[in-house]
Amino acid sequence: MVMNPAAFRDLLAGVVVAVVGLYLTATSFSYPAHSSGFPRALSVLLTVLALVLVVNGLRARKAVPVSSQDEAAPSPDLVEPAESVERANVGALAFTLIGGAVYVALIPVLGFFTAATVYLIASFIILGHRRGTTALLYPVAFCASLYLLFSKFLGVPFPTGLFL
């Protein structure tokens, strides 16, 4: 049986949130009564809502997916914003998080602004912008401007490593 993708998404989300809710409820029992009431009530509510989502997902699993809104003239009824469904892009996710993590890890080594410049250059090259002007000039110019603005003009202290 092929499941309606929206229903599957709801089911999965519901299960994940329910697990989080149960974990938080359990954790709240380790806090004294006067400080645990509010978070416990919320965690229980979260778990209940998640289970409702799971039930909704199960109910809708055989439904035919609704096609996207007609781009022609609006229907006679109320026009409402279309619900957007995002598809997971693992490559983009990995690039953003791993790239971001590497950048942040390099900050104490290279210094804040140097790490930012290296990150931008590397990102542009990986994402396909390989012309010298784009890949080198823009990152250097951008980070230099940020350095002047934050460090010199606004006086915000930033960590330095080997360089700035």
């Binding site: 965690s43 439904a63 953003t96 950048y103």
Partner: protein, 501 residues
């Protein structure tokens, strides 16, 4: 009167005007570039305003807010893609107008209409906020508790997607607000021994992560703007089309009122106002069949309404500390950083700053007219900036902003973590708006609940009786139930066409 004079002087000083101008330019650019939202822009740019004087910093943020709300219309009309979610309704008639060769007319009309909507709501803010702030002095613990609940429940029931998901998001935000010290007892919760969490999840850091990282991932996924059909360019004299504004003056006025009221209701956003105004304009038009085919009112209504939301959302924020939407929730963070607490004191002790900020909104709504029209001329060039160049730039700004707040590397990791959470929520169709409000209002909800219970010596029955018998509480309770009921009704209506085959 002295206060007003010094506030006006503050708003018109060179520093503030320059800050406002920078905010407006930034806001228009952000509005024009698809993938960048007002919420993200304000979240990313708040750290830049830390060391600026309060009026200048707030004026800059106000400029970004007003201008970015308008800027999305330019891309909607010229390229058939909304630059910001608030311009989603503008495409319906903007696209056909451009196809008919009337792009210049559409943009001119939309620019002037947006300015009028924004100015109207700024005027309402100026007139309504002070008496409302004084009225709010009568609010006690139970009232503030219910106000917090109302804010979260409205945004949950009105946000895109199912109400259950909206409530999940809101409750997650409320739970996140319990991280750190209990507001009365000081007991540490959910900190796992991490000192940087002792004072709670830092709002700006969480918001930067929540609103920028998922957009970065989407931008990288886009790679090219192959889907942008460049329909037309803007060229011409805006003032030729003032006649349209006079012809459709009732549309402008009505949409401005709708937008302002929607803005004042905590939780309802710009896109709701835009669609509501569009539907109303169509319903009251003598020729409704023209809508969707290039009716000028069809672009005028949503754009006047969405800019009218801006001033409206600041009303509950400044007077009650309840943000009108996600953008103003971030504003709240900005206010607190400058030591300004929402409520009556903003209009008494801090009156110069507050009124200075409100006056700067008038300036913003006027300034984005020339700036926006210039941007429209260069829009084609702007849109050639590849999304894959924007994306890493946003990451750098996000890292900067998160670090600059407390000079804490842990905040940067938290920002990335929240980004991952935000992306997961986006995939699951769980809206981020309610989480923001939950995070912002959670402290107030728990604190006031604890205070209210303490006043009745922990007697829950007496507390519940108070909720129903105190007049303001009773009204707020009814509003909470109404908003949840409305959300359920909306769910039922949406569920009908997608019943299983």
């Amino acid at each position: 009167m002295d206060v007003m004079a010094s506030a006006l002087a503050a708003a018109l000083s060179w520093d503030t005007l320059f800050g406002t101008f920078l905010g407006v330019v930034g806001g228009v650019l952000i509005g024009v570039l698809p993938g960048l939202t007002s919420t993200m822009a304000v979240a990313l740019l708040i750290p830049f305003t830390f060391s600026l004087p309060p009026v200048v910093g707030l004026a800059m943020l106000g400029g970004i807010y007003c201008a970015s709300t308008y800027g999305g219309a330019i891309t909607a009309i010229l390229f058939n893609i909304p630059g910001t979610p608030s311009a989603a309704a503008t495409i319906l008639d903007g696209h056909p107008l451009a196809l008919r060769g009337e792009a210049t007319r559409a943009i001119s009309v939309v620019t002037l209409g947006s300015a009028i909507g924004g100015l109207f709501s700024a005027l309402v803010l100026l007139l309504l906020a002070p008496p409302l702030a004084r009225f709010a002095l009568q609010f006690g613990a139970s009232e503030y508790f219910l106000l917090g609940v109302l804010g979260v429940s409205i945004i949950a029931s009105l946000s895109e997607g199912s109400m259950v998901k909206g409530l999940i998001s809101g409750v997650l935000g409320l739970i996140m607000s319990t991280v750190g010290m209990h507001p009365l007892t000081g007991f540490l919760r959910f900190t796992y021994g991490q000192p940087f969490l002792y004072e709670g999840v830092p709002l700006i850091v969480a918001l930067i992560g929540l609103f920028s990282i998922p957009e970065v991932i989407s931008l990288i996924s886009q790679r090219t703007r192959g889907d942008a059909q460049i329909l037309a360019t803007y060229e011409g004299n805006v003032f030729r089309y003032i006649r349209d504004l006079i012809t459709y003056r009732w549309t402008v006025i009505r949409s401005s009122i709708i937008g302002t009221i929607i803005g004042i209701i905590p939780g309802a956003g710009t896109d709701i106002a835009a669609f509501l105004a569009y539907n109303e304009a169509r319903r009251t038009s003598k020729e409704p069949e023209r809508f969707g085919r290039g009716a000028v009112e069809g672009v005028l209504a949503p754009e006047a309404a969405n800019n009218a939301v801006t001033g409206g959302t600041l009303v509950p924020l400044l007077t009650l500390g309840v943000p009108g939407n996600a953008v103003t929730a971030i504003f709240m963070g900005g206010l607190l950083i400058h030591g300004l607490r929402p409520g009556a004191s903003l209009f008494t002790d801090q009156a110069t700053i507050t009124y200075g900020f409100i006056f700067s909104l008038f300036v913003s709504n006027i300034l984005f007219v020339p700036v926006g029209l210039i941007a429209a001329r260069f829009a084609t060039r702007l849109l050639r900036v590849p999304p894959t160049m924007l994306a890493p730039t946003i990451v750098v700004l996000a890292v900067f902003g998160s670090y600059a707040l407390r000079s804490s590397p842990e905040d940067v990791w938290l920002m990335l973590g929240m980004g991952l959470v935000g992306y997961g929520m986006k995939l699951a169709g769980i809206p981020a708006g309610p989480m923001v409000l939950g995070l912002v209002l959670g402290g107030m909800v728990e604190g006031e609940l604890a205070r209210a219970l303490a006043m009745v010596q922990g007697n829950v029955w007496m507390f519940l009786t108070q909720l129903v018998t105190r007049p303001i509480s009773a009204v707020l309770l009814v509003l909470c139930l109404l908003s949840l009921g409305q959300g359920i009704a909306r769910q039922r209506r949406a569920a009908k066409p997608s019943a299983s085959a």
